[in-house]
């Protein structure tokens, strides 16, 4: 510590929100709260420069239409639109490695709904940079980089946190946007429920010879699902799952051998492929905080719910938390309520708890149903896919659901 033995430095300024975690959800919430006239202090262990590294590193997000609306509401979409690839169609098929997959097993086309593309593929570097720059430009947001929270105290009157510099920061509401191993949740005594799938996602970006035409593919293969998601130009993002041990073995291979394993999984419809960017692995596990709120504290994003990324719903669910919390806070401020009171936080928890639990359960079920070579289960899912394809209303429902346009939408997603 910088000032051993000295009394903590007390800061007189009080922030409305103290947000722990300066990744994507934290800055998005700070920007949304600023629109309601509230000030935020955003704390992150990493320096800004490290967070907004501008090189393409292979990471990208399948942004649902509702999430795009939130970014538009924060005045960020205009600068992001050129870097985003619209997803016009999603084709879902069932297959076996090395065999031609049963394409057109299930097809969703955004031409069937009037709201526009069902989503966009957006590279992490662009989204992160847009959020961090907007945060730096806002006079209602203070960014505290390269520091960690070592203690937090929440009480009926307010929140105070102690940083590893010895500094004490005071505020009215504490936000945990610090990921699946949220220290904010742990320090508040919030336990987590979760399990591992015994699977690991392998993620990379590829450059390919033929155009993707804005079509996303979801292939259900016995080892686990594989998604091909269109990026701008002749590039796509690949997310595929294998058992933990196999995934580690594949990840350890040189690029050339890695591609040799990847190629037969989706055939040659994109022509020749090469790696574009780094390769990543993410162990697949589900972790849900037993409570999304506590006294003067709310959790958003993975701190509240880390889920299977099978449907690309991790970031979308986080941004939905942000929009819902910003919504209840905004309405509370306009009514003169104490926005950090249990009355207000309960509205957020009630709103998001059900959505999250049902999404986590359905992605979990979906994965169990499709990551399987059991003939009976294959039969069931073939019938299911056929039914959905035969019923336009049902299919439109799925498209709206995937686009994040169902349920009770927060103001910023309307």
């Amino acid at each position: 510590m910088d000032n051993p033995g000295k009394a903590p430095i007390l800061r007189l300024m009080e922030h409305d929100l103290i947000i722990v975690g300066g990744g994507l959800n934290g800055p998005a919430l700070a920007l949304a709260a600023a629109r309601s006239g509230l000030t935020s202090c955003v704390i992150d262990a990493l320096p800004i420069a490290a967070r907004e590294a501008a090189d393409f590193d292979g990471r990208s997000y399948a942004l649902a239409q509702a999430s795009k609306r939130l970014l538009a509401g924060l005045d960020l979409w205009e600068q992001l639109a050129d870097t985003a690839q619209p997803m016009h169609q999603i084709k879902v098929s069932d297959g076996r490695v090395g065999e031609a997959s049963a394409f057109l097993g299930l097809q969703f086309d955004s031409a069937e709904i009037e709201e526009g593309p069902m989503g966009y593929m957006l590279e992490d570097r662009y989204l992160r940079r847009a959020l961090l720059r907007a945060m730096a430009d806002s006079d209602r947001i203070e960014d505290r980089a390269e520091t960690r929270v070592i203690a937090q105290d929440t009480g009926p009157k307010g929140v105070s946190i102690t940083l590893d510099t010895g500094e004490v920061i005071r505020g009215r509401l504490l936000i945990g946007a610090d990921g699946r191993q949220s220290g904010t949740a742990t320090r508040a005594g919030i336990r987590r429920t979760g399990w591992s799938y015994g699977q690991t996602a392998l993620v990379c970006a590829i450059a390919h010879e033929k155009p993707h035409d804005g079509i996303a593919h979801q292939l259900f293969l016995p080892p686990g699902p594989l998604a091909i998601l269109p990026l701008t130009g002749n590039r796509s993002s690949i997310v595929w799952s294998e058992t933990d041990s196999r995934a580690q073995a594949i990840h350890a291979l040189p690029d050339h051998d890695y591609l040799d394993i990847l190629r037969p999984r989706f055939g040659d419809f994109l022509g020749r492929i090469d790696l574009a960017g780094q390769r990543y692995t993410y162990p697949l596990n589900l972790t849900l905080a037993n409570s999304f709120t506590a006294e003067r504290l709310a959790l958003v994003g993975d701190a509240a719910h880390g889920m299977h990324p099978i449907a690309g719903q991790g970031l979308n669910a986080g941004l939905r938390d942000v929009a819902a919390l910003a919504h209840v806070i905004d309405h509370a401020v306009k009514r003169g309520e104490d926005f950090a009171s249990p009355l207000v936080l309960d509205r957020y928890a009630g709103w998001r708890r059900w959505d999250t639990a049902s999404l986590a359960a359905s992605t979990d079920l979906f994965n169990r149903l499709f990551s399987n070579d059991n003939p009976l289960l294959r039969g069931i899912r073939d019938i299911g896919m056929g039914l959905i394809n035969a019923a336009p209303a049902l299919r439109r429902g799925f498209i709206r659901e995937a686009a994040g346009l169902t349920g009770d939408l927060p103001d910023l997603m309307r």
């Binding site: 309601s36 006239g37 009926p156 009157k157 905004d330 309405h331 401020v333 306009k334 009514r335 003169g336 309520e337 104490d338 009171s341 249990p342 009355l343 309960d346």
Partner: protein, 249 residues
């Protein structure tokens, strides 16, 4: 008055007031039905005040400069939001025990609120005047509604706004507000309401006109038992409803 009380109460009394304040403000406690309804009440109140006095909600302290009276203030569920929005607020309650409880919570919230143990009639006799009178869920409890509404009119400055909510009188309101809220859900103590004292919207408009107020708006508060939420309705005034009236300038 408030000062006399705080100087004469001892520490155990303060602890008791704190406990009672915590009870008033517990969203899942004894006053849960009031807390569930409070957002729609506040939405109506803030929108009407903003419209009448040309204020912009969402700006800093939009009600600055407005003097507001809340009759039957209880634990301060309406006074605190009004104070936060910048109003100069006076909260009165006929139940003496509510005053130190509300004062304790306001102090915890860091808000300046003038709470008094008195009645509308006594304040009117003292010649006090306000820009807005909040008269929420009181008129169905008073012995002489016309005399009471007359006092409310006297408490308004010319052009002032009177917001008054109560419960309609019909079989549905009997089923919902008495059988449902008092006996089935036990949200309210049995005997809280006397159905015969409930007033229909037309009767209330009539009473307000007789008291010299010009009614300008009425809306229903509707409880949805599926979503477990209250909302404001233009048409359904069958159980809980709210009215806005002006004192002629």
């Amino acid at each position: 008055m408030g000062n006399d009380m705080t100087t004469t109460v001892d520490a155990s009394e303060i602890a008791k007031f704190e406990a009672m304040a915590a009870e008033w403000w517990d969203p899942t406690g004894k006053f849960k039905p009031l807390h569930m309804m409070n957002p729609v009440r506040l939405d109506y109140i803030t929108t009407q005040i903003a419209g009448e006095f040309d204020r912009q909600l969402g700006t800093d302290q939009p009600f600055k400069g407005l003097r507001i009276l809340d009759i039957g203030c209880g634990g301060g569920l309406l006074c605190e939001p009004m104070a936060r929005l910048g109003a100069e607020i006076v909260g009165v309650d006929a139940a003496a025990r509510n005053i130190p409880v509300a004062e304790t919570h306001a102090a915890q919230s860091g808000l300046q609120i003038d709470y008094r143990h008195t009645t509308a009639e006594a304040m009117a006799a003292d010649g006090e005047q306000f820009d807005v009178v909040l008269n929420m869920e009181v008129v169905e409890h008073v012995a002489d509604p016309l005399a009471y509404l007359n006092a409310c009119r006297q408490l308004l400055k010319p052009g002032g706004l009177h917001l008054c909510s109560t419960i309609n009188r019909n079989p549905k309101s009997f089923a919902m507000a008495i059988v449902g809220a008092e006996y089935v859900m036990r949200w309210l103590p049995k005997g809280t309401h006397e159905w015969s004292k409930f007033i229909t919207p037309d009767e209330l408009y009539d009473l307000m006109r007789k008291a010299g107020l010009d009614p300008v708006d009425r809306k229903g508060y509707v409880f949805n038992p599926i979503t477990w939420k209250w909302s404001i309705s233009d048409r359904d005034l069958s159980v809980n409803y709210v009215t806005a009236a002006l004192k002629p300038a």
